[in-house]
């Protein structure tokens, strides 16, 4: 099995640590991983702003880079959801549909495809798990509080495999953090307020770290934490699973 590693633009530029952890973790689990070097972005920043028609270049690049792999894995629920729902190609529509179904967010790849049951990692800290909306509600990585259905969490299950970790409970299990792509700047006031409230829930339950499957939400919360002078840090799920 050969997996194409998709590292979204902002992770590539800002959070190489999360990307390295993803790569190393997959390799540790025996996966043959290839990173196509000419990749950029999934096109979501344009599409979610109403400029889907300007995402064609990104679609083309994505097809060119990733069409040949058995699976494509990315450490970002949001970008994966965008590809699943919106990747398209006028010339090769079938290829685009097929590829869009082979793209996996890291935690769902680990639980659904690799079906791992143990991890060699240790993280003796109190950790708050932020359920990013696109991963949770879009990709159905965890059960949602609005629905009447049995509880489960793919990233949660993986964190349970980490030695010494203490997952703290949250008062509002799956409230949005307010990042929302361009929403974070076009709706600055509400975005920041949502971020503050999201962090406060973690702080009140004594989190030392906040983790999640989407670096973008974590980046937004990190920005607010730092501004508040907090010692609480954010870490991508991959960094914890990889033993940091």
């Amino acid at each position: 099995m050969t997996v194409g590693l998709f590292i979204p633009c902002y992770v590539d530029q800002f959070y190489p640590g999360a990307a390295i952890a993803t790569l190393e973790l997959l390799e540790k689990l025996g996966v043959n991983v290839v990173y196509p070097e000419n990749q950029t972005c999934c096109g979501q920043p344009m599409a979610n702003s109403g400029f889907e028609h300007l995402a064609d270049g990104c679609n083309k690049l994505f097809l060119k880079n990733f069409a040949g792999f058995d699976y494509v894995v990315a450490p970002s629920g949001s970008c994966v959801l965008h590809i699943r729902e919106h990747l398209h190609s006028d010339d090769k529509p079938n290829l685009a549909t097929e590829l869009s179904q082979k793209v996996y967010e890291l935690s769902e790849f680990l639980t659904d495809v690799l079906k791992i049951t143990s991890l060699p990692s240790k993280f003796p800290h109190k950790v708050g798990m932020h359920q990013s909306c696109h991963g949770q509600r879009g990709l159905h990585l965890s059960q949602m509080t609005e629905l009447v259905a049995p509880d489960f969490s793919k990233p949660g299950r993986l964190l349970q495999m980490v030695e010494g970790i203490e997952i703290i409970p949250l008062s509002r299990k799956d409230e949005c953090c307010g990042f929302g792509g361009t929403f974070c700047v076009t709706e600055e006031a509400v975005s920041v307020k949502m971020g503050k409230d999201r962090i406060e829930d973690h702080l009140q339950h004594d989190a030392e770290y906040i983790t999640g499957v989407d670096m973008s939400c974590l980046m937004h919360m990190e920005g607010i934490l730092k501004r508040q002078g907090s010692k609480v840090k954010v870490l991508h799920l991959a960094e914890i699973l990889n033993g940091k």
């Binding site: 530029q13 972005c41 696109h134 700047v185």
Partner: protein
């Protein structure tokens, strides 16, 4: 976007100046959302109910004209007088005419979001008719000369102290008294007086049954009944989408409506109106006002399934922190943001963007409207129709250009972590919108791509 109306972001920023108030607003609505959760989680069949309701509404929307005509014929057979209104103006004119024909100058209203949408009160008042909203929350915002900020909880944005002040000014209660029980009792006495002295009542319609020609109005205060039972003439305003095919379908909707809205198992009063009593009249005004246009928009027709429970507002993390008035339209929140651009795309071009697309609204919606997907689709339509701000357009074009070319992306990245400048902060070319209240991420020495090239490619 229009220069004279402030957009959602600006209005939300004003609301957010008082953070304690935002907290209070958020917590009050979250409390309602939690009540809803408790009420639905005891029903194992909840998701089946939602699916059933959604299918019934699909049927309705696909056969709307037939059901409406069936309803009209059956209602007429019951002795109800039917009027058709193409738009808000026509609706308002019909109401005025009915009142003037009987020489009536005072109207008592129960809650109806349709009349808010049509701005009926203003129209009647400017024609010398006194309008009294009899729903307690509606009465409060009416006294405050404000529109409702929520479709189920119209004065949810008002604290009890503010209500006390309003009652002191308008109803003569002692200054400083904000005891909810006392205030409610005062309002009750005041409204009772009105119920006894007016001759015309207007209600909304929650469900109109095609099979029987009857309609159901749901209230918690019983004010619709109080108004309608004593009046010589009962006018019911309904949107064309309020139709359900058969009486048996009521069981599905009545179970869903109030659990979703407030977490109650059922509304306190679900009043059925089938025919006028001797010497009295019932008139129904069936209103389109843009609904058939929305019906024709394939991506958005689903929005007409809405039963106005307000659950999407209570759960919306943006609504809770920006307040209903920030949506500058009669129906606020996620569903309002889908309905409003249909009425005026330019004026409401901002609303589909007032969401993080978190999807919680879609999950709570009792009739399974794909709300957040429709918000996404509206964004595309609005941009295509030229209602995107010029700066945003320019930034998006630049971004698209850079991201379409790995070479340009890598060069820009090297030139000081390109993303720091362009993703996603540069949409307005106001680089500081992120920075004002958040620190920027610390740019690493090398990107992952550079790291990979050095450490893996060469191996």
């Amino acid at each position: 976007m229009q220069a004279e109306t402030k957009d959602h972001a600006e209005l939300a920023a004003i609301f957010n100046k008082d953070e304690a108030r935002v907290d209070w607003h958020d917590e009050t609505l979250w409390w309602v959302r939690q009540k809803r959760d408790k009420a639905v989680h005891v029903l194992p069949e909840w998701e089946t109910l939602r699916e059933t309701a959604s299918q019934i509404k699909n049927n309705v929307l696909s056969n709307l004209s037939e059901y409406l005509q069936q309803f009209e014929a059956n209602a007429q057979a019951n002795g109800i007088i039917i009027h058709w209104a193409a738009d808000a103006a026509a609706h308002n004119a019909i109401v005025l005419e009915l009142l003037l024909a009987k020489g009536i100058r005072k109207l008592v209203k129960s809650k109806s979001m349709l009349t808010e949408e049509c701005h009926l009160n203003e129209h009647l008042e400017s024609n010398g008719i006194e309008v009294i909203d009899s729903d307690l929350g509606e009465r409060i915002v009416q006294l405050a000369k404000e529109p409702p900020s929520h479709i189920v909880l119209p004065c949810i944005h008002k604290k009890k102290e503010e209500i006390g002040d309003l009652f002191h000014t308008h109803l003569g209660t002692p200054k400083g008294n904000a005891d909810p029980q006392f205030l409610t009792e005062t309002a009750r006495q005041h409204l009772r007086e009105i119920f006894l002295t007016r001759r015309a009542a207007l209600t909304g319609v929650n469900f109109a049954v095609a099979q029987t020609g009857e309609f159901v109005v749901c209230t918690n205060e019983g004010n619709a009944d109080m108004g309608a039972h004593l009046a010589d003439i009962h006018i019911a305003s309904m949107g064309i989408e309020k139709i359900i095919p058969e009486r048996k379908h009521l069981g599905v909707f009545l179970r869903l409506l109030t659990r979703s809205a407030t977490g109650q198992p059922i509304t306190t009063y679900s009043s059925h109106f089938a025919k006028p009593r001797q010497g009295k009249e019932i008139h129904i005004i069936i209103v389109d006002n843009g609904r058939t246009i929305q019906l024709g928009r394939e991506d958005f027709r689903n929005s007409l399934k809405c039963i106005r429970c307000g659950a999407c507002m209570n759960t919306c993390p943006v609504y809770r922190r920006s307040g209903g008035h920030s949506y500058h339209t009669a129906i606020a929140g996620p569903i309002g943001s889908i309905l409003a651009p249909n009425l005026d795309m330019e004026k409401y071009a901002d609303l589909p963007f007032a969401s993080t697309l978190c999807g919680s609204c879609t999950n709570v919606c009792p009739v399974k409207i794909d709300i957040h997907q429709q918000l996404y689709k509206w964004r595309q339509v609005i941009v295509k129709n030229g209602y995107a701000p010029a700066a945003k357009k320019a930034a998006m074009q630049l971004m698209s250009h850079t991201l379409s070319s790995p070479a340009a992306y890598h060069t820009a990245g090297k030139a000081g972590r390109w993303a720091l400048k362009y993703i996603p902060f540069a949409v307005n070319n106001k680089f500081n919108t992120w920075y004002r209240q958040r620190d920027m991420p610390e740019p690493p020495k090398q990107s992952f791509g550079e790291w990979y090239h050095k450490n893996r490619k060469k191996k």
